[in-house]
């Protein structure tokens, strides 16, 4: 084992961690708006990438145009999921609603397999594939894109939630849905918006990660679950927790794979998930939920 690997592992960890953080943020938004765990989050990631692949490789649409189209389409899918099955469910029991998102996730995966086949696909990265050397670490341009976009998204989300009226209304809804409704905020509309934003965050994560790892119809499952682990790690529902949880998970996974065994790389995230549930279920940033009887 050579310690010269460490800088590479750190870069890879932060890169993957940023992706997990984006996905974890999606979970977080929907959790805060509705109290649901959205199992289709991973499928948003997969769809975002598959749509770009389809637009770029199939229809020859240049990548800078394909990106926003894909993000908007997945946002629409997210909104449709909320407006359709979840809104229309006769039973408002959380268990039923969560299971509906499981159903949605399987349907999206199945539809994607029907449309685009089973093979893994890829599209070229924006800045080419020649790495920059930075302090002994080879940094791919795509890694820089990923980190840059993650920081940008965080800044935008911060601005949205703290400086705009809609964002503040959304925080109000997640704090007290009934109270928000009483002062004239349409909780329904904001829930739909949360699903849309969540969908576009997922799509962005998928688009950013695909040039490095490629994507197939079932690639969303693993990414979605790792994003969820990151969200739990940080404290479910907490925005800074989601970001930090993502980065920590990415680093641990990359160091674990590089220094211990790469065969069990995927198992690390879930062992971490189980360990967190065992030791500190509230996560790094979560607080214990107080319930009124």
């Amino acid at each position: 084992m050579s310690w010269s690997l460490i800088p590479h592992l750190l870069v890879a960890g932060i890169t993957n961690g940023s992706i997990y953080a984006l996905i974890a943020l999606g979970y977080c938004l929907i959790q805060n708006a509705t109290g649901l765990v959205n199992f289709a989050q991973g499928e948003f990631v997969m769809l975002g990438a598959m749509i770009v692949i389809w637009l770029h490789n199939g229809l020859q649409i240049p990548i800078p145009i394909a990106f926003p189209i894909s993000i908007l389409l997945v946002a629409a899918v997210g909104m449709a999921l909320e407006q359709g099955p979840i809104r229309r469910s006769k039973n408002r029991d959380i268990l039923t609603l969560v299971m509906i998102t499981i159903g949605a996730s399987i349907s999206l995966r199945g539809a994607s397999m029907m449309l685009w086949g089973k093979g893994a696909r890829i599209f070229p990265s924006i800045g080419g594939d020649s790495p920059y050397i930075f302090l002994d670490a080879a940094v791919l341009p795509q890694s820089l894109w990923i980190m840059g976009f993650s920081v940008l998204v965080l800044a935008l989300l911060y601005f949205f939630f703290h400086r705009t009226l809609v964002g503040k209304a959304m925080r109000a809804v997640s704090d007290n849905r009934f109270g928000a409704a009483l002062i004239g905020i349409s909780a329904n509309r904001l829930t739909a918006l949360a699903f849309a934003v969540s969908g576009s965050l997922g799509a962005l994560a998928g688009i950013l990660v695909t040039p490095i790892t490629s994507m197939s119809y079932d690639g969303g499952l693993m990414l979605g679950l790792k994003g969820f682990s990151a969200a739990i790690l940080g404290g479910y529902g907490s925005v800074p927790g989601a970001v930090l949880g993502g980065i920590v998970l990415g680093l641990m996974e990359s160091l674990g794979a590089g220094l211990i065994s790469s065969a069990y790389k995927d198992a690390i995230a879930f062992l971490l998930l189980l360990a967190i549930l065992f030791v500190r279920p509230a996560g790094l940033f979560g607080n214990v939920h107080v319930r009124r009887l």
């Binding site: 039973n91 159903g103 949605a104 199945g110 739990i232 995927d266 879930f270 189980l274 549930l277």
Partner: protein, 640 residues
């Protein structure tokens, strides 16, 4: 009474293991035995064998969902563990089949126990994700440990099943073996759901916190159910491995877990017969759509979503309801009778009015043993509690003597309900101690507190809507039963006997509260006052030493309130301590021996009703005062 007794007679069988609806089970068994007459080739046997294996896993998952209200997406992993562990121990280590089975089930039970321990402690949907993660880990491990599991290419050469001298080699032999196993497991599960434990599990599913205050160890029950449910899957995995003799990790991936969950959802979550129907339907779909293999995943997803959105209680229960309602409509139309005159409506609370009996002093309540010390019965000392930055209670001290009714009053948000939640163990105090007759309650989990002798009711009435009136009351008697999971599954004579004993007690108690008539009706049909009385009766069934009543008169009209008051007075005469939180001052002044007044988490006064009525601080707290801020300070002075 007679109607109920007759019904009881019909349901009670003295033979162990025979479930109450044995007729349906016998019909089903006969159908399973006759079915092969219609099989044209071995493929049919194979199909029905796979169906039975799925049905066993579904049965276990159904039990889990029915009792915890949580879903596992990791049952494929337990199925796989059962298969692989038995395959390895019987093939690699040449252990006898029975030993392999025992090892496999023991290891499955152990892993599921370790997985359940942290996750079932939490609320929310951690279990789904934890089991999903677990399934993925197991699949990775099975694929990676090639030297032990054979890796992705699979594990060949597993010996066939044998029962004593007989080898179960053919599809046909396995058919009879696996369906017999299924029927045995199905019977065990039916027995369990119909028992005292099963009733507690249904209560946990519906309102876990309320179940805790009825002395039901909810966490332990949930963990036990999860382990049992995983063991079912492990057993199915064992049978599968020794049936097909070749296993590979792909069989046990997430998609199988999802299929199983879909079968449960389509059949109706928590309904055992429905689960069987759902399994039959969804196992046959891939067989019918052989050419469209790629469509399967999409189809599963769409079916799952459509059923959950359209008929969340499951497709088959929905069909059954539709058929019966149509049939009764038709019958009603033929008899030229309007539907409204059915018996359902005449039983409604508001329809017939509630006719309360006078409280009797010799109502069938078990009496508590004598006191061990001479101090106060219930003693709260120096209780402080804060939620985040909010100081909810500071330095509260309350004492209740036996046979004393203590009222806790104060403006909204003063912390009255919080005090009750602290006593019943739903919240832990930040500082201070709670003692019941010398026994320290603070720090005990709610079900232990309830068992120690604290009964309570809730501000908004908490009854179990899916259960009958009698079953609701029987939950209060839960701690009087001794029979656990095993005797419940086996439906032993001792278990039957115990259950009958509890029923007799419960019916007597219902009688004394005037609720015997609707005993077998759904609790949803009761009026509010009846539900409140049932809730009090249920708390009394615990034979508590202290009863906590949270706004019993809330939402009742004066006549109903009067009736309730007479019952509470009767409790005092039995030597029970009562803590009463109430806004109705007439009731408080008439009933209470002593009153504590809470304001913003502090006790500002205590004393007899006449003292409290004159206390200037109390008047200020209720009516407001020009020196509102000063009063709180002067309260400190008076107390200090």
């Amino acid at each position: 009474m007679t109607e109920i007794e007759r019904k009881e007679d019909r349901n009670t069988t003295r033979i162990a293991f025979v479930p109450s609806n044995w007729k349906a089970l016998i019909a089903f068994t006969a159908a399973v035995m006759v079915l092969p007459a219609f099989f044209r080739n071995d493929y049919f046997y194979f199909f029905f064998n796979i169906l039975a294996l799925n049905a066993i896993v579904v049965l276990g998952l159904n039990l889990l969902i029915g009792s915890t209200g949580q879903v596992s997406l990791g049952h494929a992993a337990f199925y796989g563990l059962g298969a692989y562990i038995s395959a390895i121990s019987s093939t690699t280590y040449h252990l006898p089949l029975f030993a392999s089975l025992v090892i496999a089930l023991a290891l499955v039970a152990l892993t599921s126990f370790l997985l359940a321990l942290p996750t079932l402690r939490l609320e929310g949907h951690y279990l789904v994700m934890a089991t999903l993660g677990f399934n993925i880990i197991i699949c990775i491990v099975l694929g990676q440990m090639e030297s032990i599991t054979g890796g992705p290419s699979g594990f060949p050469g597993i010996p066939k099943l044998r029962l004593g001298p007989w080898i179960i080699a053919t599809d046909r032999q396995f058919y009879y073996f696996i369906w017999s196993s299924f029927i045995v497991l199905f019977t065990l599960t039916l027995n369990l759901t119909g028992s005292r434990v099963g009733r507690a599990l249904a209560a946990i599913h519906e309102k876990e916190l309320t179940a805790k205050t009825l002395a039901i160890p909810t966490y332990g029950y949930k963990v036990a159910t999860f382990v049992l449910s995983a063991v079912y899957a492990g057993f199915a995995g064992f049978c599968y491995a020794h049936y097909v003799t070749f296993i590979s990790p792909k069989t046990f991936d997430i998609f199988y877990s999802v299929q199983i969950v879909t079968m449960v959802a389509v059949g109706g979550m928590g309904s055992l017969w429905g689960g069987l129907a759902g399994t039959a339907l969804l196992t046959s779909i891939p067989e019918l759509l052989h050419q469209l293999e790629d469509l399967q995943v999409l189809l599963y997803g769409l079916i799952l979503m459509a059923v959950l959105v359209g008929c969340p209680n499951g497709l088959f229960p929905a069909i059954a309801t539709f058929v019966t309602s149509t049939a009764s409509k038709l019958a009603g139309w033929i008899a030229r009778r309007p539907c409204e005159s059915s018996s359902a409506n005449s039983a409604k609370g508001e329809g017939r009015g509630f006719q309360p009996p006078a409280p009797e002093s010799d109502a069938p309540l078990p009496r508590r043993e004598l006191r061990s010390t001479n101090g106060p019965l219930l003693k709260l000392d120096g209780i402080s509690l804060s939620f985040g930055g909010l100081q909810a209670l500071s330095d509260v001290a309350i004492q209740v003597q036996p046979g004393e009714i203590v009222a806790l009053i104060g403006p909204n948000g003063a912390g009255k309900t919080t005090v009750l939640n602290l006593i019943s163990g739903l919240i832990e105090p930040g500082r201070g101690t709670i003692e019941l007759d010398g026994l320290r309650l603070s720090g005990l989990p709610p079900h232990r507190v309830a068992a120690a002798g604290i009964g309570r009711t809730f501000q908004s009435v908490q009854v179990f809507g899916s259960l009958s009136v009698l079953d609701n009351l029987l939950l209060g008697y839960h701690k009087n039963g001794r029979c656990g999971f095993i005797s419940a599954c086996l439906r032993t004579p001792a278990e039957r006997c115990e259950e009958e004993g509890l029923k007799i007690q419960a019916l007597e108690l219902l009688e004394s509260f005037g609720l015997a008539k609707p005993a077998l009706h759904s609790v949803r049909r009761l009026s509010l006052v009846e539900q409140k009385i049932l809730e009090i009766a249920r708390a009394l069934a615990l034979s508590p030493r202290v009863l906590l009543l949270d706004e019993p008169a809330g939402g009742l009209n004066p006549r109903e309130g009067e009736f309730l008051m007479r019952h509470i007075e009767a409790l005092r005469n039995r030597g029970m301590g009562v803590v009463l939180v109430e806004h109705d001052m007439n009731m408080v002044m008439r009933l209470a021996d002593r009153i504590y007044v809470l304001q913003q988490g502090r006790l500002i006064a205590s004393g007899t009703p006449s003292e409290i009525r004159k206390n200037p601080l109390v008047i200020a707290a209720y009516l407001g005062s020009r020196k509102g801020r000063l009063t709180a300070e002067s309260a400190e002075k008076i107390k200090g």
